[in-house]
Amino acid sequence: MVEPTAVSLQLQIIGVVQTLGLIGIAPLITGIMRKVKARTQKRIGASIIQPYYDLAKLLKKDEVVSDQSSWIFRSAPWIMLISTITAALFVPSFLPFSPFNAAGDILVVIGLFALVRFFTMLAGIDVASAFGGLGASREMMISAIVEPALFLTIFVVSLSLGGTNLTSIASSAANQFASGVIIMPSMIFAVIAFFVIMLAETGRIPFDNPATHLELTMVHEAMVLEYSGKSLAMVQFSQSIKQVILLSLFVNFFVPVGMLTPAIGLSAASTASTALSFLAKAMLVSALVAFAETRVAKWRLFRIPDLLAVAIASSMMGVVFFYFWR
């Protein structure tokens, strides 16, 4: 059914619907993570659709912009939101197909994430508050180590599943699972590395605390501290979308259970079932992330490279296992 290079109007429409769905559930996933975290800490927590209310309320509010800031500060939220939505258009979620599939591969997605991060850092520095600069320099340090780890992990995944094209990766992962290979040995190491990187990229607890504005240790929140109103809504929404993109990459690379394969064929019923299974898997993985976050304390900034070294070493061994397997 779905050829990696086939571009028909029907597939494009389905792909756009899929991406809209992915963007639509992004705040829901954030809400689920907060809820799981609250429950594991014996709190009741806000409702899982609270992030939607937050976004709606922020959109209605007035915005305060410092008169010391330049156009960078005002345009950065737009760039963040548009880049993450463009990245979402590259990522297959419940169908092994994405609308921008022919235009680029996973390296483009990583590049778009880097663009988002770059403009977040610029916006943090632009307002010349002490917190902004602090957060930007920390983010720079972390991202300089996350990126090699991320690339090594992508190498392992692309070697094991053939190619960097997200559509072909997702469909070959699904085919392999359907043919009885539950997990390839090299992918075991890639799972570990990718999980650590997912925590680092979304600013989860050993790296950064997403739930605080009151700590000297904050990284991402320090950079976007000056935003309010619509801009803050855009920043938060783009962060949620980035998180759900990483989740869907994780799910499609490593847990392709219930993914559509050519054997099943594209129909309304099969699409609905894969969409449901994707939603279930995404919720499970996000609950797992939230649970892992509760288990650990935030690490001292200079110990963070230790954890990222684990990711790098793990993906190095994944490469070794790929070449010496058999």
Binding site: I183, P185, I188, D306, A309, S314, M316, F324, R326
Partner: protein, 222 residues
């Protein structure tokens, strides 16, 4: 079926390597001990897998012995011995930092795989030996590295135990089981070694008030 077997072998080898890294990434003595216990559990599982594939009942006995001695008795003995020691048990200032030792250990694993590939390029190894020999060799290297890179004397013992696990895996995967008498002898040997090193540890801590190996070098005959 053959594919499934190879998968089982490689996945268990991967699990053993991950268990070994659990010792390398930690900094406290209790964490090392739990890492070692986890490694011993996985090693017992790996031994049972070898027994299942080769169909030798003696290897099952070795697996049970591994489980009993390495996963239960040795950690208990070490905990009891270290209870009365003075000086800190955790290594906060190792010779090689944790992050570099993780990367170096990964490089050692690559080295082990390349070495096995070179050494046995012309000989015909069965699937068990091909899956586990490189892991055994990397356990050996990582154990040596853990021994020389940390300051606290307890770590030398953990390193020695990792090396011993590597040697055990090496013999089992290459020979498909030694005679039971020899296996039992080896296990008794490890146990005696642990008890002796426990005594040595308590002497070190009595004499120097610390388990830091760097301080032992300061001994001078004035």
């Amino acid at each position: 079926m053959i594919l499934l077997q190879i998968d089982l072998l490689t996945i268990s080898a991967a699990a053993l390597l991950i268990a070994t890294f659990a010792v390398v990434v930690r900094r406290g003595f209790l964490d090392w001990l739990s890492g070692y216990r986890y490694q011993a559990l996985v090693l017992a599982g790996v031994t049972a897998v070898i027994g299942y594939i080769t169909g030798t009942w003696e290897i099952y006995v070795a697996a049970i012995l591994t489980l009993a001695i390495k996963a239960v008795i040795i950690p208990k003995v070490l905990l009891r011995v270290t209870k009365g020691l003075s000086g800190q048990l955790s290594d906060f200032n190792p010779y090689v930092s944790v992050r570099s030792s993780i990367i170096i250990s990964a490089i050692l694993v690559i080295l082990a795989y390349a070495l096995v590939q070179e050494m046995f390029a012309n000989s015909r190894l069965d699937s068990v030996a091909r899956a586990y020999l490189p892991v055994a060799l990397s356990l050996f290297f990582i154990g040596l590295f853990v021994m020389v890179s940390r300051r606290i004397a307890l770590n030398q013992i953990i390193g020695l135990l990792i090396i011993e696990n590597g040697l055990f895996l090496f013999t089992v995967s290459l020979t498909h089981g030694l005679p039971l008498l020899i296996e039992v002898g080896i296990f008794a040997d490890i146990l005696a070694g642990i008890i002796i090193s426990g005594i040595l540890l308590s002497r070190i801590s009595q004499t120097f008030d610390s388990l830091d190996v760097g301080k032992i070098e300061q001994l001078r005959d004035d």
